[in-house]
Amino acid sequence: MVYKPSFGDRLFDYLNYIILTLLMISTFYPLYYVFVVSLSSIGEIAKHGSLMFYPRGFTLEAYQSVIENNYILKGFRNTIFYVVLGTSINMMMTIFAAYALSRKWLMGRRAIMVVIVITMFFSGGLIPVFIVIQKLHLYNTIWALMLPGAMSAFNMIMMRTYFQGIPESLEESARMDGAHDFQILFRIILPVSMPIIAVMILFYAVGHWNSWFSAAIYLQNRELFPLQLILREILIQGRISDMGGDTSNVAHQVAKNLKYATIIVSTVPILLVYPFIQKYFVKGVMLGSLKE
C-alpha cells in the first residue's frame, strides 16, 4: 500500500517533530549547562549569569578543588565499597530465593511466596524499622545500609519468572548425574540467565550508588558517609567541608562552579556506562511489565 500524506498528516508530523525536539532540548540543556558552568571561572559566571552555551573563562579549578576535597574522595570510596558489597548481598539473596521458589517440587513453596509478596503491600513503616535497626545494634554501622534492603521482592519475582522459563530437562539430566541444587544453580541455571542477571546487577548497583536516605538516618560517623550525603551537604545545604580536621559547621557559600563540578564528578560514572547498558535496562523494565 502506498502511503500518501495529506496536509493534515504533514502538519501533524511537523508539530510532532517540533514538540519532541523541544522536549529533548529541555531535558538536555540543564545537564549541558551544569557541564558548561563547571568549566567556567567564578568571575565570568557572575558576569554572564545563568544563561550560558559554552564555558566562559575556561578553568579546571573547580575540578581540582573537588579532587582535593578529602570528604568527596572518601565518600566516593565508601560509595564504591557500598555498591559492590550491597549488590553482592542483593544478588545472592535474589538468586537463592528465585531459584528456590522456581522449583515446582519444593514443599512449602507457595507459603513462602505469600510471606514474601505480603511485604510488597504492607510494611511496618519508617519508625518501627528504625527501632529494629537500633535494637539490632546496626545503628551507625554500614550494615544499616546493607541489610534492610537486602532483597527486592519485585526483582526476585522477575528473576523467578526467568528461571521458570528454562527447560526442566536441563536440570533433570544434571540431577541424574548426581548434581545437587547448588551445582545445578551455578553450573546450569546461572550461565543461561546472564541477561536477567545483568539487569538485576544494574538495578541494584544504581540503587546503591544513588541512595542517601538510610545513610542520613542511620549514620553519624562522617568517615562512613557515602558520596550522596556529602553531595547533599554541598548541593542542598550549601556547605563544604574542607580538607583536614575542620569538621565544624563553618558554613560558607559554595561557589557555583564547584557545586556543578561535584555534580559532574558524581554523575558521570553512571552516565558513562549508561549507553552500554541502556538496552539491558529497557529489557528489565519490559520484563517487569510483562510480569503484571
Binding site: G125, I131, F213, I234
Partner: protein, 318 residues
C-alpha cells in the same frame, strides 16, 4: 524395580507413609531450604519484626522498656493526630500534590509514547529516547541540587524571566510555587523512563490492524483513537492502580530534600511529617501512629482502585 520396592514399603499405614514422604521431600529439598535460610531470616528481621513493631502506635513506647513493657494507651496518638492543627494541612498537601501528579504527570509518558510511535525516522526516535531516559539515572540529591540552583533568585529560570523583562522570584521560599516545581521536575525526571512500558505495549500491536483500518479510510487520529489507545489501555490501567496505591507515600525523599520551613505550608506531607516527628523529635509512638494511618489509607485506596478497574475494564492487580 527399586521404585516398586519403595512404593510397597510406603504403602498401607497412611500416617506413617505420609511422614515418610514429607521426610523424603524435605531431604530432596535440603539444599534449597539452605538457600532460603538467609532469605527467610531477612524477611523475619527486617519486614515482619517491624510489622509487629507497629504495636508501639498504641503504646507510649519507651526505648528502655521495649515493645512488651511499654504502657498501652489505645488510640490516644491517633486521636491526638486527628485533632492536631497539622492534620488537615497534611491531608490537603498530600492529596493535592498527588492530584496534580496524577493529572499532569501520569499522562505525560503516555503522550510521549504516542508521539514517538508516530515518528518514522528510527534514528530520531532513538535519540529522543536516549536523551529523555538520562534524568532517571541521576540521583535525587543531584536532581534537587540542580532544581535549587535553577530556581534560585539568580538561577536559570529567573535569568530567562529577566530577559523577558520580569522580576526575579525566590521560588523555593514561596509556598505557592512548591507544587508546580515539584510536578514539573517530576515529569522532567520520569517522562522518558516511564514511557518505556507504553512503548513496549505499542510495539506489540499487530500492524495488520492499521492496514485494515486504512483500507476503511481511517485517518491518523482515528487510528490512534481506535487502535493504538485500546492496545495500551490494560497497561495504563495497571499503572494507574499502582500509582493510586502509592498515593500517600510517593515522593518522600524528593520533598524532604526540596522543602524548607518556609514552604511547609504547601510542601509538608504525611510521610515527611512522620520523619520529622519520629526521627528528628524521637516521638516514636506518635510518628508510628501517623505512619500506620498513612499505610491503612494507602491500602484502602489500592483496593478501591483495583475494584473499580476490575468492574470497568477487567484489568486488575489480583
Amino acid at each position: 524395580m527399586e521404585g516398586a520396592v519403595s512404593e510397597l514399603k510406603a504403602n498401607p499405614q497412611t500416617g506413617r507413609s505420609k511422614l515418610l514422604r514429607v521426610k523424603r521431600e524435605l531431604n530432596r529439598g535440603k539444599y534449597v531450604y539452605l538457600m532460603l535460610l538467609p532469605v527467610m531470616i531477612y524477611y523475619v528481621l527486617f519486614h515482619y519484626l517491624p510489622m509487629v513493631g507497629i504495636v508501639i502506635a498504641f503504646q507510649n513506647y519507651a526505648p528502655g522498656l521495649g515493645f512488651f513493657e511499654s504502657k498501652w494507651v489505645g488510640f490516644k496518638h491517633f486521636i491526638d493526630f486527628f485533632n492536631s492543627f497539622y492534620f488537615w494541612r497534611l491531608i490537603k498537601n498530600t492529596l493535592l500534590l498527588n492530584f496534580w501528579l496524577l493529572i499532569f504527570g501520569f499522562p505525560a509518558p503516555i503522550l510521549l509514547a504516542l508521539l514517538l510511535n508516530e515518528v518514522r525516522s528510527a534514528l530520531f526516535k532513538r535519540t529522543v529516547q536516549t536523551v529523555t531516559y538520562i534524568p532517571h539515572f541521576i540521583s535525587m540529591v543531584v536532581i534537587v541540587g540542580m532544581i535549587k540552583d535553577f530556581v534560585s533568585s539568580d538561577g536559570l529560570i529567573n535569568q530567562i524571566r529577566n530577559l523577558l523583562g520580569k522580576e526575579s522570584i525566590a521560588f523555593l521560599q514561596l509556598p505557592e510555587f512548591f507544587r508546580s516545581i515539584y510536578v514539573t521536575s517530576d515529569i522532567w525526571q520520569g517522562i522518558g523512563w516511564s514511557s518505556i512500558i507504553y512503548f513496549a505495549a505499542l510495539s506489540a500491536v499487530n500492524p495488520e490492524l492499521y492496514e485494515a483500518s486504512e483500507m476503511d479510510g481511517a485517518d491518523r487520529y482515528k487510528k490512534m483513537w481506535h487502535i493504538t489507545l485500546p492496545a495500551i489501555q490494560p497497561t495504563i490501567v495497571i499503572l494507574l492502580i499502582l500509582t493510586i496505591g502509592n498515593l500517600l507515600s510517593s515522593g518522600f525523599e524528593k520533598i524532604l530534600l526540596l522543602y524548607q520551613p518556609l514552604t511547609y505550608e504547601t510542601a509538608d506531607v504525611i510521610s515527611t511529617y512522620v520523619y520529622r516527628k519520629g526521627i528528628l523529635d524521637s516521638s516514636f509512638s506518635f510518628a508510628s501512629a501517623v505512619g500506620l494511618f498513612n499505610t491503612v489509607v494507602n491500602f484502602t485506596l489500592l483496593i478501591i482502585a483495583n475494584r473499580i478497574s476490575r468492574k470497568i475494564s477487567e484489568s486488575s492487580l489480583w
